[in-house]
């Protein structure tokens, strides 16, 4: 590796080629700029890679054969700074079913297609909470709270949502807003409906819909159910870039607990929505199997001048450019910046309960703790739970238990936010041959012999042919940024090339648990009204009684957009403050705050992917890069300094 291979300079270098880079690369290439996209994996072709081999729970679902190889790189996890962080050794099956993506499309190769908008409250969570409940309210819930507003409001992001939904062929029918007008300050109003209709509704979805339509929500108004939003196309479709999309064929190897690549390209993904248009423009170069390991800074340290990557033979390539867009997955993006000395690393001051610096700050988790207060019942609706359907269609949701759509002023224990609650996703959204109790459970009071012996075996007989089904939820309010949760470089473990891996210091915050006590009772009322029998609320689970041993579960934050340089690293344009060239966004980093505590009901239907708000932000970044190239790079006028 003594010789550095020089690549030709381009206007825009996209680091990673997933959802976010797909938008930026396509928008900039179609505008006539030269663009290079660099990904560590291949360009998957659904016809040749998936169509005859993906129906394989062992290889694809549990073995993650299309995902990022762990020997190349991993990450380490600890719950707080007092612990030694342990490295993730394998994709354990199926307790940790989310892996990093690999190649064009990234992690979107393996989601269930959950998609939807944040509401207005999500973008102004800190100020609206202070205004409604007092300035100390958040700090009274979460120790060392570090929550901030986004730099822009929902109304300012709304046009970007529309572009994002058009590009990816999102299915649904408005969002549950009572009036669907901008006057709805809480519900996510839409200036334009989703481009595709929802998927066929299940009997349970219909029951849920008709039940809640007749019920009063905690805010005193009727519930407003809407079809669960899905990023799996329900019809043939052509997006604004001229890319044609095949519809879902409902074969059911889609989500489940393991999430499958799509053999028709119906599952929205940069590889089948945006990148084909970028390639057709003639201005885009795709570099695959290339592992980005450094960003090279100018001598003064205030400009990024090149990206360095290893090719499959380990050669060091140097790719110069005018603008660098970091669309890597969350902690890989943070890691690359820390390895490159870009931005001010976050440093946690445990004694003071605060922190300084910004790169790595504000790590949150969009996925629920594995143990929480639950509610469940049984309805006499059977069905087929073997693969039949898809991972995000068929159900109905409500926003009325989310955000600040009801008053939180006299609830104990206190919390903010709530959850998107829904029911009726396809029973057969994905295979689940070994999904009992998070894999196989140890002997316990319920099953004295665990997952062993004749008595347990009998519970598995005809398990895919239910004549009734369990409905319920283990609800959580959103996880919020605190000073104690963050990303930095691990001092002990390295990737295959000898560079430190990322270290996650993370545990769920009290707000996530506190919401459950209230929400289970709202859901209990709905289940009872639905005619469910044996409706039971489980024991209360206290904060910090279960600790995070997962990774990669919808992690968000770590490099926040904001106008306060003490809290966020980037401007409202997603440019890094002080480094006008580097625009970042990824499905975690763009999401510095989020609204929906995700609720998993027993059909396995949960909202997925940090793309909820990062997607629109990628359009915002593309617009900022266009302005930069037109003004800053040519005439030195800095439009993006703040």
């Amino acid at each position: 590796m003594s010789t550095v291979i020089q690549e030709n300079p381009v206007d825009v270098v996209c680091l990673g080629v997933g959802f976010m880079s797909g938008v930026v690369a396509t928008e900039l290439a179609l505008a006539g700029n030269s663009v290079v996209g660099i990904t560590k994996g291949p360009y998957w072709d659904y016809v040749n890679d998936y169509s005859t081999t993906k129906y394989d729970e062992w290889g694809v679902g549990l073995g993650r054969k299309y995902d990022s190889p762990l020997p190349l790189q991993s990450t380490t996890i600890r719950n707080n700074i007092n612990q030694f962080a342990l490295p993730v050794r394998r994709y354990t099956m199926p307790i940790q079913y989310h892996a990093l993506g690999h190649g064009v499309g990234g992690a979107a190769q393996h989601y269930g297609g959950g998609m939807g908008r944040f509401g207005p409250w999500a973008y102004e969570m800190a100020s609206r909470t202070a205004s409604a409940y007092g300035s100390g309210f958040l700090a009274s819930i979460n120790p060392q709270d570090d929550t901030h507003d986004w730099p822009l409001t929902y109304a300012e992001y709304e046009p970007y949502y529309v572009e994002w939904e058009k590009a990816h062929g999102i299915c649904g029918n408005y969002n549950g807003s009572p009036t669907n007008s901008p006057s709805d300050i809480n519900y996510p109003w839409m200036s334009r409906n989703y481009p595709l209709p929802p998927h066929p509704m299940t009997p349970l979805g219909q029951l849920f819909q008709s039940t809640v339509q007749g019920m009063t929500a905690p805010n005193g108004q009727k519930y407003n159910p809407f079809p669960t939003v899905s990023a799996l196309s329900s019809q043939p479709y052509t997006n604004q870039y001229g890319v044609t999309v095949n519809p879902c064929v409902y074969e059911g190897y889609c989500a489940g607990l393991c999430d499958y690549a799509c053999e028709t390209g119906a599952k929205a993904n940069a590889a089948y929505r945006t990148i084909p248009a970028a390639i057709n423009s003639g201005n885009f170069t795709l570099v695959t199997n290339a592992y980005i390991f450094r960003l090279e800074l100018s001598p003064s340290g205030n400009q990024v001048v090149a990206a360095h990557y290893y090719d499959a033979q380990g050669n060091d390539h140097r790719q110069p450019g005018k603008v660098f867009f970091n669309g890597m997955w969350g902690y890989n993006m943070i890691r690359l910046m820390l390895l490159s000395g870009l931005g001010t690393p976050y440093v946690y001051n445990s004694g003071a309960g605060t922190g300084s610096g910004v790169v790595g700050r504000g790590l949150t988790n969009g996925y629920t703790p594995y143990r929480g207060t639950s509610v469940s019942g049984t309805v006499n609706i059977g069905g087929n739970s073997y693969p039949a359907g898809n991972g995000s269609g068929g159900g109905v949701s409500v926003f009325d238990l989310m955000d600040d759509n009801f008053s939180h002023s006299s609830i104990s224990p206190p919390f903010i936010g709530g959850g998107l609650f829904g029911a009726g996703g396809y029973l057969g959204g994905g295979p689940g041959n070994i999904t009992f109790a998070g894999g196989v459970s140890a002997p316990n009071t319920l099953n004295p012999n665990g997952a062993m012996g004749s008595a347990f075996k009998a519970t598995q007989q005809n398990k895919y042919l239910p004549t009734k089904q369990s409905v319920g939820a283990t609800p959580f309010a959103p996880d919020l940024p605190t000073f104690m949760n963050y990303i930095d470089l691990d001092p002990h473990y390295t990737d295959a090339y000898g560079d430190p891996v990322s270290r996650l210091t993370y545990d769920w915050t009290p707000n996530t648990y506190n919401g459950a006590t209230y929400l289970v009772n709202q859901i209990k009322a709905i289940l009872t009204q639905m005619g469910a029998t044996n409706v039971t609320v489980g024991a209360t689970v206290a904060p910090y009684s279960a600790h995070n041993d997962w990774w990669g579960h919808h992690l968000r934050g770590g490099l926040r957009i904001g106008t306060d340089p003490n809290a966020g690293t980037a401007t409202a344009w997603a440019a890094l403050s002080g480094y006008n060239q580097l625009y970042y966004n990824s499905n975690t980093a763009g999401v510095n705050y989020f609204a929906a505590g995700e609720i998993t009901n027993t059909t396995g239907n949960n909202a997925t992917a940090g793309t909820h708000a990062a997607g629109p932000q990628s359009y915002r970044a593309a617009e900022g890069i266009k302005k930069y190239l037109a003004n800053v790079a040519t005439s030195g006028v800095n439009y993006l300094a703040s």
Partner: protein, 341 residues
Amino acid sequence: MSKTTRREFLKIGLAAAGGALAASGLEIPLFGGNTSSLQNQITNLNKHISTVTGFLTLSIPEQQLLEPVVETIIPSDSTGPGAKEAGVIYFIDRQLASDYGQSGNMFMDAPHIPPNIPASSTTPPTPLTVKPSSAWAFLQNKETGAYLPAGGMGNGAAIPYLGASPTYTAGGTNYTVKYGITASPRVGSGINLQYPVNMREFWRISLAALQAYSNKYYSGNFQSLSSANQLQVIKDLWSNAPKTKTNPSPPADDLTGFSNIQASDFAYELTFMTWAGFTMDPIYGGNKDMVGWDYTGFNGVNFGNFYGEGLSQKTLMVASSPTKLKPASLAQYQQQATGGT
């Protein structure tokens, strides 16, 4: 492939399969009762081709132990076939001989620190050592006597101990958090398996330890125990009883004490891999004749019309009562998709 060629291929194949059978010493009814016509032979061979037996990596003592283990986890009983009929042991053998056994997709960088070290511990965590069996002796550094950890890319630097468990206060509530020096992952978590050996070696050590434990505390090889005791032995593993039953503490390489391997980690692998062998596609060597899928009602890749049933996914997915489909395997699907024979 022309028919003539196929016949010749089958003749050769049958001879080879017969040889393998004799060597393995296992009774497998390859051809059923009627071998009078070549067509019957083809039919029967196709039926069993995915489960022609023999072992790639399990030793004879390991085979003899593992068979009753998997049959304890999923017994054959009045409700239907179990691990024996599904050929679970062949699934596990093939996994141990391939990527799973080689830890081919695992991150193996050192140091290997055990999880679950309580906060009350006053000493910093030290890296795990698991004395490899003879099969791995080549990894021993002859000069220092040290065993090289698999992977071994890290520097194994000293681990700092950073302090006791913290207390957080919010809104008048004190949260005293019971953190350990290391995280306390659940069994089966991806940060739980911190061993410096690959999974084949993990199984080799653990199977030997299981047999030694059976002999020491249940007075005989596992395969000679009563069904109730067989189940109890595996439950002992789940509860890590072998460690607590050994007094004084065993030396690090005492297999009856499971060395530094948590017995519950092995119990998880045993149970998980047994269910996988029962319910994963037959292409991996288990789930013979799809008996596991037939038992659970799984469809495999029959999307409603594989055998001409005339059903569609769009109907099945919104049905309010179940329809059982005869399962189809990945190999069948590929055969049909390519229109081949």
